[in-house]
């Protein structure tokens, strides 16, 4: 593994030190405007340390892990296998076998729905999710419900945009076999009452799946402290390459479930008419894997640690979020969705400007090199529940500054005027 200066020692890095780790953040538009990247909920930027680690893998140890018996392949195997251990320590899994590499959170969630769902769900069983789920933690459950005859039920939000304990107790019943919840909503930035959900689900004998895609760069995800049975997240939302994701599952569940994809490297022995499965995690990692991505994810975890860790990132982000939320809420003609307490938001604030469609907002901001997301955010049932068809979303990462917020607000203040409305 390569190391770069500034990433070797572990300390509570300042925001300036962290920004210096990202070459892309110093780029300017053709018009000379600074890059204001506020679409971190879609994907974060990658620090140079991660980009170098991936390059270093391909430059110095590239071979197909678990295949060759020459030195290069041994190096690749060691890098790929040790990445499982790095992730396991990061999320406090029991061991590296409980960490399965996938392409992304969507694949991880589909894996659970197909492998666990098809083998365990029966007509009359209930799957429970929240109305705030991303389509990736919603459509797989619709599909497995349709295939097995199970029903899909929702936890709805109160007027503040939160799931209450009472709602959890109302919906999770003795028919419930699985509860799949987001750790942080990608639209509202809020977190449902995970501890209460886990207690209620386990009390009825149901399993809990945690969609940690939006939380893992902002909050400590300790799968054993949270006591969830499965967890899923993507590398690219936490400073890692595209195309690498994680499924965490409790060992006894992963051992008892049938494999998802079958083929190369996930077998113990194959005969003409049958096969037995490899040990965890290989059982769920069929075919040649994204070893460079796994190495990049492990490097991102090392890098986060070297900068002070996820809790430190959360502290830096909370300060930016307070400033962002306050500035937005002071603007006329702005509607902000979800909990009014900025302390309850992790990384995300969604809003609309009166009379202006969010795609026009995003285009006008783009002209100032301010990058936000607009649309339905892959959460159409939530937007329908909120009574809107689209909204704008600013989502922050550890490197965002007050200056980024100021540029956002300045650009936003032009939107109504450009479309012929008064300020």
């Amino acid at each position: 593994m390569s190391t770069t200066s500034g990433s070797a020692a572990s300390h509570l890095a300042t925001r300036e030190e962290i920004i210096a780790e990202f070459g892309i953040l110093s780029q300017r538009s053709d018009e000379g405007k600074r890059l204001v990247y506020l679409d971190n909920g879609a994907t974060t930027q990658r620090p140079d340390y991660v980009i170098e680690a991936v390059s270093d893998f391909y430059r110095t140890m590239n071979a197909n892990p678990h295949r060759g018996i020459y030195t290069l392949a041994e190096k690749a195997t060691e890098a790929y296998d040790s990445a499982h251990g790095t992730v396991a320590r990061f999320i406090n899994a029991g061991d590296a076998g409980e960490v399965v590499f996938t392409r992304n959170a969507s694949e991880s969630l589909n894996l659970i729905a197909y492998s666990w769902g098809a083998a365990n769900l029966r007509p009359g069983d209930r799957i429970v999710i929240t109305i705030a789920e991303h389509h990736s933690n919603l459509v797989p459950w619709q599909q497995v419900a349709a295939r097995t005859g199970a029903t899909l039920s929702y936890l709805y939000l109160d007027a503040h945009g939160d799931v209450t304990d009472e709602e959890v107790d109302r919906v999770i019943d003795e028919h419930t076999k699985l509860v799949a919840v987001t750790h942080v909503s990608n639209v509202l930035g809020t977190t449902p009452p995970i501890a209460h959900i886990v207690e209620a689900a386990h009390g009825k004998g149901a399993l809990v799946v945690l969609d940690a895609a939006q939380s893992v760069p902002h909050l400590k995800v300790d799968v054993r402290a949270l006591d969830v049975d499965f967890a899923a997240f993507s590398g690219h939302k936490m400073y890692s390459p595209f195309g690498i994701g994680v499924l965490y599952g409790r060992r006894e569940l992963l051992e008892s479930m049938p494999p998802f994809l079958t083929g190369g490297d996930m077998i113990e022995e194959v005969t003409e008419q049958g096969a037995t499965w490899a040990e965890l995690p290989s059982k769920y990692e069929a075919g040649t894997q994204n070893a460079g991505g796994a190495v990049g994810l492990a490097a991102a975890i090392e890098w986060i640690g070297s900068m002070g860790g996820v809790e430190h990132f959360g502290d830096l982000e909370r300060e930016t979020m307070d400033y962002l939320y306050h500035a937005l809420s002071q603007m006329p003609h702005i509607t902000i969705y979800g909990d009014a307490d900025a302390a309850h938001r992790h990384g995300v604030v969604s809003f609309n400007v009166d009379d202006v469609h969010s795609h026009d907002i995003a285009s006008i901001l783009a002209a100032d090199n301010v990058c936000i997301r607009a649309g339905h955010h892959c959460a159409q049932p939530l937007l329908h529940y909120l009574g809107i068809s689209a909204c704008a979303r600013a989502s922050i990462a550890v490197y965002n500054t007050h200056e980024d917020v100021d540029d956002l607000i300045e650009s936003l203040s032009k939107t109504r005027g450009l479309l012929g409305y008064g300020n």
Binding site: V356, H357, S358, H359, D360, S363, I364, A367, D368, A374, G375, H376, S389, A390, L418, L419, G420
Partner: protein, 151 residues
Amino acid sequence: MGIEDIYTQIIAEKSRSIANRHHLDAPTDVVAGKNPTCGDEITLEIDRDSSTIKDISFVGSGCAISQASTSMMIDLVRGKTIPEARRAIEEFHAMITEGELTDETMATLQDACALSGVSHMPARVKCAVLPWHTLAHALDEAEGKNAPSTH
């Protein structure tokens, strides 16, 4: 090109205009168009005979570009023959996807040329072409309906 060259006064005005935003009493064709990724939705209501678009209106919601484009298209094709409308659709498509703004294009498209700047915004092209694609679809369907039966 600056953003004010996209969101021009005419785009702002046409996006808010209610002149073409209503139902027809007895449309011959009602055709919906939708951009699923961004939620632009329009429904065109057309009153035509076999040769001419006698009247046309729309209802729907979406971004300023999709709504202005719809309103300007309606201004342009109302009263036109179907071949004239098809030619306008082709010209508009060429202007938006290839950025061509010839004298001929300007003569054909008139106010709708105000959307030519969208050719510099690849992510917004689908907003601008939505009503034109929807109209083309409506005309294709109408031709199918009008075609003499071969059975």
